[in-house]
C-alpha cells in the first residue's frame, strides 16, 4: 500500500471517507457548527456534511473566527475525522490542535486532484502521512 509523506500539522490517526473540494472553505459562517453541514450557498459542498469525513481542500478562507468554529464542531462531535490541505495558516493550526483533528499539508502533489470523494483515506497526523486504503 502506497503511503504519501506530507507534513504534520495536528497529531492523531484517522481513517474514513474522503470528501474533496477544490474550493477554499470558511469554517466560520461557511459550516453550521450545530449540524456539520456546509451552508455557504455558492460553495460546491453546500448542503454536504463534513462530519466524520477526511476533508481534503486547498485552504481555508475568511474570518479569524474559523479557529473557534473548528473547535466548536469538535466539541459538538461534528468535526471532520481529519483534514488534508495544500497550505495551512495560524487560524487552522489553532483550530485543529485544540479541536484535536489530525491534519496534514504539503503533500508532494495537489491532494484535491489526486484524491477523490468516496475514497477511503487513512491520515497519520503524527507522521504527516496519508494512505489510500481503497
Amino acid at each position: 500500500m502506497k503511503i504519501y509523506k506530507g507534513r504534520s500539522i495536528s497529531k492523531g490517526i484517522a481513517e474514513g471517507d474522503a470528501l474533496v473540494t477544490k474550493q477554499p472553505l470558511s469554517f466560520f459562517g461557511g459550516v453550521d457548527p450545530e449540524t456539520g453541514f456546509v451552508v455557504e450557498r455558492s460553495h460546491e459542498l453546500n448542503k454536504t456534511s463534513i462530519t466524520d469525513k477526511i476533508l481534503v481542500m486547498p485552504s481555508t478562507k475568511g474570518s479569524t473566527a474559523s479557529t473557534w468554529a473548528l473547535i466548536r464542531l469538535s466539541e459538538n462531535k461534528l468535526a471532520p475525522k481529519a483534514i488534508i490541505t495544500i497550505v495551512t495558516d495560524a487560524i487552522v493550526i489553532a483550530g485543529v490542535i485544540i479541536g484535536q483533528i489530525p491534519t496534514i499539508d504539503q503533500l508532494p502533489f495537489d491532494p484535491t486532484v489526486k484524491f477523490h470523494t468516496g475514497q477511503i483515506l487513512k491520515v497519520n497526523g503524527d507522521k504527516g502521512e496519508v494512505e489510500i486504503k481503497r
Binding site: P33, T67, W68, A90, A94, I97, I98
Partner: protein, 411 residues
C-alpha cells in the same frame, strides 16, 4: 528549530495544564510552517477574539477560564480587544442576564490572567504605546495595521491563539512583518484626490485594499493626514485587503527615516493614481439602503478617541436625535470616562445618543436588534455590517449626524 526557555518547556510538557500546552504547540507549529527558527520578544500583546461571545462563543470563554485556572499568568502587558457587550451598560442594550453572565466569565478569566481591561480595538487610547521598531503581537486587523504603519512597531495579524500564546510566553514567531525586508512598499499610490475628512480616507483605503490585497502600499500625496485619518485609512485598507502595513511619504515613520529602503522603485509592482471621482464612486457603491429612513447611525469603528467624541458633542449641541433613530458611538471606557468629566457624554446623551464602551456594532449581536438601514462614518464597519446582511450607507461624521437628527439619509 526554536530554542525554548525552561518555562516554555514546562508549558509544553503540560505542567500548567492542557490549554497552555496547546498554546505552545500552536506557537511552535506556526513557527515551523513559516520556516522560523527564532522567536522575538514582544513589548506587549493585545488579545483578539478569544473573549468575544458573539465570535468565539462559550468555546473561547471556556478555554480562557481553564487557562486562567491553571495558574498561568500573562508574562507581558496584555491589552484586550472589545467584547460582545458594554460591560457597564449591557442592560440598556437589551442584553439578557444569561448572555451577560457568560460574557463576564470571560472577563473574569482575563482579570485572573492579569490582562488590562481596556476592551478596545484601539489600545493606544488606553496606554499601549509601542516603541518604534518594537515587536508586539496583535490580532485585530485595524490594530495591527495602525501599529505597524503609524508607530513603526512590528506585528503580523497574529491570530487569536498566537496572541494568547505570546501573552503567556512573551514571545512571537519572528517572520512576516516582524522582518524589515517584508515591510518594503510594493504598490505606489499617487493620491490626486482631495481628502476632506476621515471618511474620505476610509473610502481611499476601501478602494486601494482591493488592489493591493496582501501587499504593502506606499501613499504619495499633497494631502497631509492626521492620526484619525490614518486610523480610518488603515482599518478600511485591512478590511478589503489583507495587508497589515502601509507607508505614507513624509508622514509615517519608517519611510520618513529611510525613504530609499521602503520606497525602493525596483520593488514596486504597480502604480495606481486616485482621482476625486474614484472616491465619489466608492460612496455611491457603498450605499445599499433600500429607502431613506435610517434606523441606526453608528460612529466609532475603530473606537473613537476623546477628540472625536468632543467633535461629535459639539455638532450635536442644541440638536435632538430623531425618535426613530438610534445613535451609537463606540469608544474605550477610558475615553467614555473622560467624556463624562468634560460633559460631552452628557451632551451626547441629552441629544439622544449613546456612547457604548468595551464593544462595537460589529461585535455586539447586531442581528438581534433588527436594524434595517444603518449609516456609518466607517468604511470598515460598512464592510462588516453589510456582510451581516444589513443595508448600509457610508458618509462623513457630519452627514451621519444629520441623518441621526433628521431620521433620513438624503445623500
Amino acid at each position: 528549530m526554536v530554542v525554548l526557555t525552561n518555562y516554555e518547556k514546562k508549558l509544553l510538557k503540560g505542567e500548567y495544564g492542557q490549554e497552555a500546552k496547546q498554546l505552545l504547540e500552536i506557537l511552535l507549529k506556526v513557527a515551523e510552517i513559516n520556516g522560523v527558527s527564532e522567536f522575538a520578544e514582544v513589548e506587549h500583546v493585545m488579545i483578539g477574539n478569544t473573549c468575544m461571545l458573539s465570535v468565539a462563543g462559550e468555546t473561547g470563554i471556556n478555554f480562557l477560564g481553564k487557562l486562567a485556572n491553571s495558574g498561568v499568568k500573562f508574562k507581558v502587558p496584555t491589552y484586550t480587544n472589545v467584547v460582545s457587550m458594554d460591560l457597564d451598560g449591557w442592560q440598556e442594550l437589551g442584553i439578557s442576564n444569561n448572555y451577560a453572565e457568560t460574557q463576564f466569565k470571560g472577563v473574569e478569566a482575563w482579570k485572573k490572567l492579569g490582562a488590562i481591561l481596556n476592551c478596545s480595538c484601539m489600545p493606544f487610547f488606553s496606554g499601549a504605546m509601542p516603541k518604534y521598531g518594537a515587536h508586539v503581537a496583535y490580532a485585530d486587523t485595524a490594530t495591527v495595521i495602525f501599529a505597524n504603519s503609524y508607530f513603526g512597531a512590528k506585528s503580523n495579524r497574529e491570530s487569536d491563539m498566537v496572541c494568547l500564546a505570546s501573552a503567556v510566553t512573551g514571545r512571537v514567531p519572528n517572520f512576516g512583518y516582524h522582518l524589515d525586508k517584508t515591510r518594503k512598499g510594493q504598490f505606489l499610490i499617487e493620491v490626486n484626490a482631495s481628502l476632506k475628512n476621515e471618511s474620505d480616507y476610509g473610502a481611499l483605503g476601501y478602494y486601494i485594499g482591493k488592489f493591493v490585497k496582501e501587499k504593502v502600499p506606499v501613499f504619495k500625496s499633497f494631502n497631509n493626514p492626521n492620526v484619525s485619518n490614518l486610523i480610518q485609512l488603515g482599518s478600511s485598507l485591512a478590511s478589503t485587503g489583507t495587508t497589515s502595513l502601509f507607508h505614507w511619504v513624509g508622514v509615517t515613520p519608517e519611510i520618513r527615516q529611510n525613504p530609499d529602503y521602503y520606497l525602493d522603485e525596483s520593488q514596486i509592482i504597480e502604480t495606481i493614481s486616485v482621482a476625486d471621482k474614484d472616491l465619489t464612486d466608492i460612496y455611491k457603491q457603498l450605499n445599499t439602503l433600500q429607502h431613506s429612513q435610517v434606523d441606526l447611525v453608528y460612529i466609532g469603528c475603530p473606537h473613537c478617541d476623546i477628540e472625536k467624541i468632543k467633535h461629535i458633542s459639539s455638532l450635536l449641541e442644541g440638536k435632538r436625535i430623531s425618535d426613530s433613530v438610534e445613535l451609537w458611538i463606540s469608544a474605550p471606557s477610558s475615553v467614555k470616562h473622560l467624556a463624562s468629566k468634560s460633559g460631552d457624554l452628557q451632551e451626547i446623551e441629552r441629544a439622544g445618543g449613546k456612547i457604548l464602551s468595551d464593544t462595537c456594532a460589529v461585535i455586539l449581536p447586531i442581528k438581534s436588534y433588527n436594524f434595517g438601514n444603518v449609516v456609518t462614518d466607517s468604511a470598515k464597519a460598512q464592510v462588516y455590517l453589510s456582510d451581516f446582511g444589513l443595508n448600509t450607507a457610508f458618509g462623513s461624521i457630519k452627514q451621519c449626524l444629520k441623518a441621526a437628527t433628521s431620521g433620513r439619509w438624503d445623500e
